[in-house]
Symmetry: C2
Subunit: 154 residues, 2 copies
């Protein structure tokens, strides 16, 4: 997978969370995800299909980060992953993937997005079934971490 | 959502599990999924995009059914949701959605499939973020249940 394909997702995630929730996320070095599975409390998953790409993206939020975003964005104080948190995660997933899609379209990488699916549950695991490499990035903040996984078949 | 769109998924799920694992699943009446969230031990999720459709499909397996499929299909006895079970669920998801895609193509409904994502975790929840109705179907067997959710934006 090319770096120019990953960077728009990194920029979009930082931009969306920074703009919407005033939380500055610091991205760590990309890692290839091996057997290890991402674990988190709530994730947004979205499928991507285009002439050059076929894959899936997942963004997992620590509970602390998800609730901080709720507080900063909507002024709502919650301590659990409820329907409103899941809705927010679905919205963020759409915005982040949509932002990356726009940047990539300018570089002539065109793809369409499926509708997001939000998964929650303590220590749920996510596994992308693709032939290509699985890239995972950690985004750190004092409010908790987010994890971005991008996987493509080709 | 039209019945002719749901039926190929029902037929394909019954056909794949029947053929691969010799388990006869009995489908119950489709229900609109409201606030309630599907709960299960392991799910395969796949995005679908086409000129007429944009949505997501999820198949959730009870642990008992997932381990029965492993035993019948591969002769492997397992009591937990491990990497091999998740791989099997990814494969089933691809086959079931692929079968439905072929039937629907004959009726001139064309869509492409994203790569499957497999989610596991006790009592994980799945929420499809779509504008249209969310349909959930229960498939019962003495070995445990499967749940099929199909959701479209339009």
């Amino acid at each position: 997978m090319k770096v120019e394909f990953i960077n728009p997702f990194i920029a979009s995630l930082k931009n969306v969370i920074g703009t919407m929730a005033q939380i500055d996320l610091v991205v760590q070095k990309p890692q290839k995800k091996g057997d290890e599975l991402a674990r988190g409390e709530v994730s947004g998953i979205i499928g991507m299909i285009g002439p050059q790409v076929k894959g899936s993206m997942a963004i997992t939020f620590d509970k602390a980060l998800a609730t901080s975003i709720m507080k900063n964005m909507l002024g709502e104080v919650t301590n659990s992953i409820d329907d409103e948190v899941r809705d927010m995660v679905g919205e963020m997933t759409n915005m982040i993937c949509g932002g990356a899609k726009s940047s990539l379209a300018e570089q002539n990488y065109d793809f369409e997005l499926a509708t997001p699916v939000i998964v929650s549950g303590t220590d749920h695991t996510i596994q992308h079934k693709v032939d290509g490499p699985k890239i995972i990035l950690t985004f750190a903040s004092p409010s908790g971490n987010a994890y971005l996984e991008i996987c493509f078949d080709k």
